[in-house]
């Protein structure tokens, strides 16, 4: 099994979610995160004082899938998250050793 993690622009979340559902992905975990890459942050001004905000809000999506589905999941997320502008985010894939469905105790791919 693989864990596909994507960090994307917050306003692309709905597109990505719908694309993944169309591709047959049945679950995901999302979290609000902050960070920066090449995009860097932005500035804000309060009463004339300039504040540099380096950590930009992003949404992180975690999807666990079968080994042979990982490339497809990455492609779907990539397509749906892309705006072509700087700050579109990153996707990475890592191997998952074990997976447990808490309710039934199923192990491995059966727990997907």
């Amino acid at each position: 099994m693989r864990l596909v993690t994507a960090v994307i622009k917050p306003f692309r979340l709905q597109e990505v979610q719908e694309a993944l559902r169309s591709a047959g992905v049945v679950g995901m975990t999302v979290s609000e995160v902050h960070g920066y890459g090449r995009q860097r942050g932005h500035t804000e001004v309060y009463r004339g004082a300039e504040y540099r905000v380096d950590f930009v809000p992003k949404v992180r999506i975690d999807v666990v899938c079968e080994d042979d589905e990982a490339d497809r999941v990455v492609e779907v997320v990539e397509e749906a998250a892309r705006t072509g502008k700087i700050g579109d985010g990153k996707i990475w894939v890592v191997a998952v050793e074990e997976l447990v469905r808490v309710r039934t105790g199923e192990r491995g791919a059966a727990a997907l």
């Binding site: 979340l13 709905q14 979610q17 719908e18 559902r21 049945v26 999302v30 804000e44 001004v45 309060y46 009463r47 004339g48 004082a49 300039e50 504040y51 540099r52 905000v53």
Partner: protein, 435 residues
């Protein structure tokens, strides 16, 4: 036999309630500008000021500020009205007043409350709670009550010299602004200031707070007429100046920073209301507009001065209330017009006489507020220590002082109630049974 006018009395009582509401409004205005970890401490300081100064007022402060003059020097009232005794007669020096003295007591109480509450802005995020309570009580009695007597009581020495301060440009605005700066100077800056980011955590709160202040200011200014009939000029001038200052602040921001900001609009409105406070019953529409424009622009420029002087007046009490009060009080000497009330200023053929009296009042208010507040703050700081410890300051005052936090938006540990929905439309609901 005193004859009261029921319309005037009703207006003054309603105004007192309007002005009372300004203090929670100020708390919200300031609460939005502090960091998330300190918002409750800010609200708490303002709320407790309503209680402390409100009680002190009826027990002795009213008597000190408005009681029969002590020795005829015009410096302080005596204790005749302590605990509101002997209060059925006329307000000393105001025999012609058409409202009962108790209505005046209530109205002026709210002024004492909000003036003290303004000091929370300059000293935000670093004072201990007990130390703040002691300070606000002592400050109100030692610093506010005397200057209220000097200017607001007809027996006060500045009032006798012909100072024109309709609703408190000196007593409330200059006093709070300059005292705020003195307090910030004595207790020192917030840990990490100005190196660290301390941006406002909730600007919508600040905008709501400014709106409540704007609303309450009609009571503050027009109520000061102590008559429903004579309140109208002050009422309309309050709105005119507030509107002009709001726009002037935005223009300064557009030219200086490239963007008009929401917090700037809120701050500009407050600056305009501050500046018209001493002038609202003495000027016409031209005067109110110019005062608002000048104050909005000047206060917008003044907010960056604290970085130059290295004094952490955290929420710009000096730059908004001090500078705004200074401008408004002086400009009465330019735009005062006897057709409204009071003396003519320089632009209406009155020469420099009124301007000189206004300048004297400004000088007295600035010197008194700075010296007396610095002395009070220094003494309390030496005896009890005004600041929280470094760990408490870093953790935030909400948890350190009150064992509370303002916002609980976390899903963790809650009953599974979602605060947001990403999915739109019925077709987007997850299909059942796949699990």
């Amino acid at each position: 036999m005193l004859r009261y006018n029921s319309g005037d009395t009703a207006w003054v009582l309603a105004s007192a309630a309007l002005v009372l509401f300004m203090t929670p409004g100020l708390a919200i205005f300031y609460g939005g500008m502090v960091r998330r970890k300190n918002v409750l401490a800010m609200l708490m300081q303002n709320f407790v000021t309503m209680a402390i100064v409100g009680l002190a007022w009826v027990w002795f402060s009213y008597s000190l500020a408005f009681g029969p003059d002590w020795g005829g020097l015009g410096l302080l009232g005596d204790f005749r009205f302590a605990a509101l005794s002997h209060i059925s007669g006329a307000i000393p020096g105001m025999a012609h007043q058409s409202v009962p003295q108790l209505a005046f007591v209530a109205f002026q109480m709210m002024f004492a409350v909000i003036t003290a509450a303004l000091l929370t802005g300059s000293s935000a995020d670093r004072l201990g709670f007990a130390a703040f309570c002691i300070f606000v009580l002592v400050w109100s009695v030692v610093v506010y009550d005397p200057i209220a007597h000097w200017v607001f009581s007809p027996n006060g020495w500045l009032a006798k010299k012909g100072t024109e301060d309709f609703a408190g440009g000196t007593v409330v605005e200059i006093t709070s602004g300059v005292s705020g700066a003195a307090l910030a100077l004595v207790v020192g800056p917030r840990r990490g200031w100005p190196r660290e980011l301390m941006r406002p955590h909730n600007v919508p709160l600040s905008v709501l707070g400014a709106g409540i202040l704007w609303f309450g200011w009609f009571g503050f200014n027009a109520g000061s007429a102590l008559s429903a009939g004579r309140a109208v000029e002050a009422f309309i001038n309050t709105n005119t100046s507030t509107a002009a200052a709001l726009l002037a602040w935005l223009v300064v921001e557009k030219l200086r920073d490239g963007r008009p900001t929401t917090l700037g609009a809120a701050s500009g409105a407050v600056a305009g209301a501050v500046a018209i406070t001493p002038a609202c019953g003495f000027v016409n529409t031209v005067g109110a507009t110019v005062i608002g424009l000048v104050a909005g622009a000047a206060c917008a420029l003044a907010v960056s001065l604290k970085f130059k002087f290295g004094v952490d007046d955290s929420l710009d009490v000096l730059a908004v209330h001090g500078v705004g009060g200074f401008i408004g009080t002086l400009m009465v000497g330019l735009f005062g017009v006897s057709a409204v009330s009071g003396a003519n200023g320089l632009f209406y053929g009155g020469g420099f006489a009124l301007l000189g009296r206004q300048a004297l009042a400004v000088l007295v208010a600035v010197s008194w507020a700075f010296c007396a507040t610095a002395a009070v703050a220094w003494a309390i700081h030496k005896v009890v220590g005004m600041r929280v410890g470094p760990d408490e300051e870093l953790a935030g005052l909400d948890v350190s002082l009150h064992e509370e936090s303002a916002y609980d938006f976390e899903a963790m540990g809650s009953g599974g109630v979602s605060s947001r929905a990403f999915i739109t439309g019925p077709e987007a609901r997850p299909a059942a049974g796949k699990d």
